[in-house]
Amino acid sequence: MTEGDEQTLIINMGPQHPSTHGVLRVVLVLDGEYIVSATPVIGYLHRMHEKMAENRTCLQYMPNMGRVDYLNPLGWNWAYVGALERLAGIEVPERAEFIRVITGELNRISSHLVWFGAYILDLGAFTPIMYAFEDREKILDLLQPISGSRLTYSFFRPGGVATDVTDSFLKDTLVFVKYMRDRLPMYRDLVTDNIIFRKRCEGVGVLSLEMCQRYGATGPVIRGSNRPYDIRKAEPYSIYDRFDYQIPVDEKGDAMGRYRVRMAEMAESLNIIEQAVNRIPEGDHIVKKAPKPRWKAPKGEVYFAVEGARGKIGVYLISDGDKHPYRVKLRSPGFSNLSAFGELAKGHLLQDAVSILGSLDLVIPEIDR
């Protein structure tokens, strides 16, 4: 049976389908219940962030980063300031690096919690998202006083972070770490071991390593296919080499594998946060001569990558020595991960399309930019 055959049925999933999380459209060609071909159609949330970079100054572009991926803004903050710092050779104070690690990992957990709740919701279970949002709320309450926002943070600055953290923030963070460690086993009992959930995910959407390489899949998606590729270890940046943590992998490569990797990652992030809070030194939170809004970046090209919640976030920046960047390219992990979907969904049941899409952890504004 091929596409265009009289026996096939074309279904438009989206752009307003609840399991596409934003406005993604997937054109599905079905033979009965089986998917003959799946073609994602993107661009509904395209805002041309790369053009916006060219008509504002390097620092004015900061707030855009929170809007590229609203669930993991600090990952994007980090990639962008990292590119500017690498280009201009700015050294970041020790304390600022610790603050970045603590807030960045908190943000990774809050992003995974939204994915967790929404994924289970896609598969038909309503309760877990209520628990996940309760936990996420605690992270937002921690980050709000120091960053000034609850969702689209623009907290990092070239040379440090916008504000210093207080002792009460550090104390509350440790309380949260302890609280969250008690919650994760509950999630396992509630969801991970649930037989209905497992039947929807196990053996579904098996992604081979060869396919990961062809499509450039990164993050929990490639780690779910048993390759411990994590930018925090592979291209060490900031002070991640000083902490003791594992890179969770899963050998199955199916939707369940990607699920297990993200769940294990939350526990690892808690380990990193705990070590960082206990070891944070006194000092400045930003360098004395930090770039001002009209600062001119030096000439040259630079690439900086970080491990975001969804995978490898890359910022490629070219400056001609002016206040405005000459060109900024944003490499979003979801873009590459989603591009593999068409090949991944072929031959599966229609219901599996939902569990594969969810296992890729898509945030459409980040894919469309």
């Binding site: 661009g43 053009k51 396919m211 450039g216 000439k299 000459y326 060109r327």
Partner: protein
């Protein structure tokens, strides 16, 4: 020492970079017809395609391919320079399936044509849109040598003059200025 995959690869210019400074270990300038060969070699050496971006310079459009190895710090940037009036580059989607979308994005933003792309329709922009938003006006275009730092040039084709102090294009613009 050049890496093994580079042996026998025809390049216009081979540049070694310091990763700490630019985030790239090798920058290669290729002519369009050797691009697919380079991509194939990199694929076989275990590199994956991170992104394809382009930029608009006074010397033409430059398509930049970033590829990264899974093990350790190793990023290769392939540059292909094509003229503004006939921007044609072969598609590498037969090697890297992920390039299908990256190339469509570059078509949207710059109007670069990727020959032999199986499905060259707009990805992010509307299908009836004719403008390419990242193309710069002539007066805003900057010469490549003022944009990119070639790093340490290991090998250079004698005709590849974009990083020379006096290349034909700068001579022209100088004489225009007088």
């Amino acid at each position: 020492m050049t890496p093994e995959w580079m042996d026998g690869l025809k390049t216009l210019c081979k540049c070694r970079h310091t990763f700490k400074k630019t985030g790239v270990t090798w920058g290669l300038f290729l002519s369009p017809d050797t691009l697919v060969d380079a991509a194939r070699r990199l694929f076989q050496s275990g590199f994956f395609l991170e992104d394809i971006s382009a930029l608009d310079s006074a010397n033409g459009f430059v398509a930049v391919y970033h590829l990264s190895a899974y093990s350790g710090v190793d990023r290769v940037a392939l540059h292909v320079i094509v003229p503004h009036d006939d921007p044609q580059i072969p598609s590498i989607s037969a090697v890297y399936s992920g390039a299908l979308w990256h190339e469509r994005e570059a078509m949207d933003f710059f109007g670069i044509q990727f020959t032999s792309h199986p499905d060259p329709k707009p990805l992010l922009l509307p299908e009836d849109m004719t403008e390419h938003p990242l193309i710069k006006e002539d007066k805003d275009r900057v010469l490549l040598k003022d944009l990119l730092d070639p790093g340490e040039i290991v090998e250079r084709d004698p005709d590849f003059l974009f990083f020379e102090e006096s290349n034909s294009l700068t001579e022209e613009s100088k004489s225009e200025g007088q």
